[in-house]
Structures are given as structure tokens and as C-alpha cells.
């Protein structure tokens, strides 16, 4: 005989009746879009938006770097990434500003190399998904980006000719390079340091660069672009693992009821994120990032000059010899569709004060925040969006889609809980440590 799962009416005590009735009354008071535990009961429309945010796909290909997905290049790139011999004073590496233990950033408001720069170190988490690199998007690929900090006078301070000398001087560097790219170009007769300095034609480094023949310049440019391509191959591997939010979305997709992967607070934060707060307008897709640029109306920084952001970055992007239209890209032709982003670029007045949207996966690990690191915590960021300052934007015009959110204190907590749920596992030693040898050692078969 099958036993009924329902409680026989007769067996209900007075207390039981009271509990049942109060439960019914509570359910009647509860809004239809809220579950019994207080978590949102997401509508079909909300589910569509949530499902657009996960899972994270594989990184897009970069046909401009034929070694972008080469394991050997990634290994050499990792060796270079942690190597201080790539800096002028021998005391800095890429990891100095992009430390795996500090969210692949540096924990400082502004990056500090040879000098303090005017921008925050962007995280390398999920950098392979970026359409543009740097806060102002002044390069179109990760390999083209990688060259600039090596040579920046505020950062590592080397020059491409100085780097070539280093590779001749250090046998391991040379061996790693030649295993991938063949013989190292000659450094005979080259000055100690030389590179183009487009912003200052009279700069000593530019004067030295002018002494090189066109063939020598070509060989040195190709050499440094290959270092960039190795670094890109490594940095493409810095991708987020599965987060509690991803597991929650997987449950939602499978129609599993009452997923416990996200706390009630985080789910409420998610509802705000896709709903009233409209964060999803710019933080779209599985990287929670539209990969484009916006002016959110930050007032002038008290200690920094006005930064025009994308408006100033665009001419540099188009003038970069390492962009997709240049001779060092591995694209089969300049007309390749990957270059569409360059062919149809438009510089507009509205680009003033625009900076690239940061992705939100791992965002809790990558503070301080904003292009100038003005906010120490995500709470400060949310308070900015909640209240919006009275001061005018430092430059340009704040986008119309950013009204003050006027978040209640508990709503702030919900959004923070949601952002915390976007954390995946920390990077493992296969990414966070320098390999002993620049060349992959194959075990004998």
C-alpha cells in the first residue's frame, strides 16, 4: 500500500494548524518573485540575462600571433614574464606589476616601475579576451601590448636594442629564443640602448635608433615582437576557473531548484546587477565586460593631470607598428577580418575621458580600482555609482546610462556578495612560478 506523503488532516494538532496558517499567511505576503528563503525567484526574462553571463568560453583566437596557443611559446613566455633581466636595472619583471598573488596586478593605486606611472596596473586575469589593451586601448593585441612596459621609461626602462644585447649576453635567454625562433639577430655594432620614441624625435634613444640601418631596425623590431608573442602565449593561459556563480548558472540552466551555490545575498545582488542597477549594460557577456570604453564621469584626480583616455589612445593605436596592419603581425593579409576593428575605427569627441570596461571575474582580487586606482575597495566603487559626485567629470561627458543608483546599505552588501561569487580558484604553480629552464624539457619516451 502506498503511503500518502500528505499529513492527515485529522492528525493536525492546534499548534500544527496555527503553524500551517501562519505559513500560508507569510507565503501570501511574499512577493511572487521571491522564494521562501528570501532568494529571488528569477523570471524567464531574468534567466535569459543570467544565462548570457556563463559559462566562460575558450579565449578567442589571435591569428596575428602564430604562436598564441603554442605550449612551447607559453613556456618561454612564462620564463620571460618572471625574468628581471628584461629590465634596465635588473630588478623588475612583468610580475612586479602583474603579480599572481595580487590578482595579477600589484595592489597599488598606480603602477610603480622606474617611476610612479599615472595609471593603475590592469589585471591579467582573462586578458586573452580583450579586444583592446591598456586602459586607453592603445594596442590591438596582447603581444603588441607586451612590448611597451619593457620599454617604458616609467616602467622597466629597457629598449629593444638593449634587450637584444641581454639575449646575447645570457646563454639561457638566447637558448630559449633560438629554440622557438631560430638564430638570434646580430647585435654587432649596435648602440647599447636604442628604440623609437615617437613622442620625442630628439630623445637620445630615438637618435640612437636612427643610427641603425632599415635592415637592422627590421631585425630588432622582429626580435622584440617575438618576445611579445611569447609573452602573449603565456598570458593567454591566465583564465578564470569555475566560480560559485558559474555553478549556480549551471544549476539554473538545468532547472535544478533552489541552488545553494550562491548565497541568498549574492542572488539578490545578481538580481540588482541585471535589473535595477543595470550593471549588465556594460558588464555584458561571460567576462562581464563589453571590451569597449566608457566615460563614467569620474571627477578630476587631485594629484594627476587630466587623462583623456581612449581619445588619446586612438592615434597611438593607429600609429603602432605592431598593430594588425603592420609588418610584424602574422595575419595572412591586412584585409583579414581580424583587422575589422582597425579598419572601421572612429575617433569621436565622446571618446574623451573614456576608459576600458574592466571584466568582473576575479574583481575582488584586483583592487584598487579605476584607471587611476582612486578607489581602494569595491565598496567605494559601488558608493560612487550609488551617489555620483557633484563635481563634473574630469573631461568629456558622463554617459546618460549612469544615473545615481541610490543603493540601500543592504543592496550594497548584496552586490558585493555577488561580485565575490565571481571568484574562481587561484592560479596554480604552472602559472605562478618561473620555469627552471627556458625550453620545455621533454621526458624521454
Amino acid at each position: 500500500m502506498l503511503r500518502s506523503k500528505c499529513l492527515p488532516v485529522k492528525s493536525l494538532t492546534l499548534l500544527g494548524w496555527a503553524a500551517l496558517l501562519s505559513g500560508l499567511a507569510l507565503a501570501a505576503c511574499r512577493p511572487a518573485n521571491v522564494q521562501s528563503d528570501g532568494a529571488p525567484a528569477f523570471s524567464a526574462q531574468e534567466k535569459t540575462l543570467i544565462l548570457s553571463l556563463s559559462p566562460r568560453p575558450r579565449p578567442p583566437e589571435n591569428p596575428g600571433n602564430s604562436l598564441a596557443d603554442s605550449a612551447n611559446a607559453a613556456h618561454f613566455g612564462r620564463y620571460l614574464f618572471y625574468d628581471t633581466r628584461l629590465s634596465l636595472k635588473g630588478d623588475q619583471s612583468c610580475a612586479s606589476c602583474h603579480h599572481p598573488g595580487l590578482g595579477w596586478s600589484d595592489g597599488k593605486p598606480l603602477a610603480v616601475g622606474l617611476k610612479t606611472t599615472s595609471r593603475n596596473s590592469p589585471t591579467l586575469w582573462n586578458v586573452a579576451y580583450q579586444r583592446w589593451l591598456f586602459w586607453d586601448g592603445r594596442t590591438d593585441s596582447l603581444w603588441a601590448q607586451s612590448v611597451q612596459p619593457l620599454e617604458s621609461l616609467n616602467e622597466m626602462g629597457m629598449s629593444r636594442v638593449g634587450l637584444l644585447h641581454s639575449f646575447h649576453k645570457h646563454p639561457e635567454l638566447r637558448r630559449g629564443y633560438e629554440a622557438l625562433f631560430g638564430p638570434l639577430p646580430s647585435n654587432a655594432g649596435l648602440p647599447a640602448q636604442a628604440r623609437p620614441v615617437p613622442e620625442d624625435p630628439k630623445h637620445p634613444l630615438q637618435q640612437s635608433w636612427n643610427q641603425l640601418s632599415p635592415q637592422q631596425q627590421l631585425a630588432v623590431n622582429r626580435f622584440v615582437s617575438q618576445l611579445g608573442k611569447s609573452l602573449e602565449a603565456f598570458e593567454r593561459q591566465i583564465v578564470s576557473g569555475e566560480s560559485p556563480f558559474d555553478r549556480f548558472v549551471a544549476d539554473l540552466r538545468a532547472n535544478k531548484p533552489a541552488s545553494k551555490e550562491l548565497s541568498v545575498e549574492a542572488q539578490k545582488g545578481l538580481r540588482l546587477f541585471i535589473g535595477r542597477a543595470q550593471c549588465i549594460l556594460c558588464h555584458t557577456g561571460p567576462l562581464l565586460n563589453d571590451r569597449e570604453f566608457h566615460n563614467i564621469g569620474l571627477p578630476k584626480h587631485p594629484h594627476l593631470p587630466v587623462d583623456q583616455g581612449r581619445y588619446a589612445g586612438l592615434p597611438k593605436l593607429l600609429a603602432d607598428p605592431f598593430n594588425g596592419l603592420g609588418p610584424f603581425s602574422d595575419l595572412p593579409s591586412r584585409e583579414h577580418e581580424w583587422n575589422d576593428k582597425l579598419h572601421y575605427l572612429s575617433r569621436q569627441a565622446s571618446n574623451k575621458g573614456e576608459f576600458k570596461t574592466p571584466g568582473l571575474r576575479e574583481i575582488t582580487r584586483t583592487g584598487p580600482y579605476m584607471h587611476d586606482g582612486r578607489f581602494k575597495s569595491l565598496e567605494e566603487v559601488l558608493l560612487f555609482y550609488s551617489q555620483l559626485p557633484n563635481q563634473p567629470p574630469a573631461t568629456g561627458r558622463r554617459e546618460d546610462t549612469i544615473p545615481p543608483l541610490e543603493l540601500k546599505p543592504e543592496e550594497l552588501t548584496y552586490l558585493l556578495a555577488f561580485l565575490k561569487a565571481l571568484e574562481g580558484p587561484q592560479a596554480g604553480p604552472e602559472l605562478s612560478q618561473k620555469p627552471k629552464d627556458p625550453v620545455v624539457q621533454r621526458s624521454p619516451s
Binding site: 563589453d290 577580418e337 575589422d340 572612429s346
Partner: protein
Amino acid sequence: MLNKKITLAALLSLSALSVGTLLGPFSASAQHQNYPKVNEADRENRSQITDNKHYRVIYTPLPDPIPLNQHFRLKLTVQNAEGKVVENAKLYVDADMPSHNHGMNVKPKVKDLGKGIFEVRGMLFHMPGYWEIYVLVDHAGKKEKATFGVTLKMSPR
């Protein structure tokens, strides 16, 4: 009462000022304010008559539907009022998000494929929501405008 009127007038003028400031030098909607308004009922229609009724413009996106934050193309067909092909026209194409007061971050290029068919390359809608596509037909001394509404939705992965 007078005070109330003054306050109201002051508020109105202030709001006009703030709208003017907002529209300011970067206003995307100001750039296209002379384009016809899209009829709500006809908003997503891919076939529209130009403002002076001499031309019909029809578009097909590639891929279809228009993807979010990816380059796409438009195939545009221009006909006259009798539905006949219009040859030797010049086309200008742009797009805005009117409620956001911004346009695209790209400048598309139009190629005349002949027989009244045009290909627009380099379009990119980087945000979800309501967009308007503006088409200017320059033909036989006439310059006429058409506006298409497109709502770009986020789709599940």
C-alpha cells in the same frame, strides 16, 4: 502662486540648460535629430519609406539577428516609390542608442554593389538595448532620410 510660477519657470529653464549641457558637443542624438522618428508600431520593421516618400530602403543584417558586440554587415536595397531599383545613389549609414545618447565606436563603410544594392561593413553594436540605424539616400538631387529601430537582446550562452 507667483512664486510657484517662478520656481516652475526656473526649474524648466534649469532643466533645459541641463539638457542642453547634456546634449552639448558630443550629442549623438543631436547629430541625427533631423532623421524621421520611428513609428512605435513600425519600430522593428526592416523596410522603411524615406521622409519625403520618394524611396523605400530595406535592410538585411549579416549575421541575422544582429550579434551583440561583434562586427556585422548590412545589405541595403534602395527602391523608388514604384518599387523599382534605384541606381547611382549614394548612401550614408550610421547608428545611435538614442536613450543612451551615444553612437557606435566605429565608422562603417558603404559599398555600392550595383542594381540598388549596397553593402555596409564595419557596423558594431557594443551594448544591448534599443538602437536606431540612420540611412541617408543621396540620389538625383534629393537627399532623403530613413530610420530603422533595432532592439538588441542578450541571449543565453
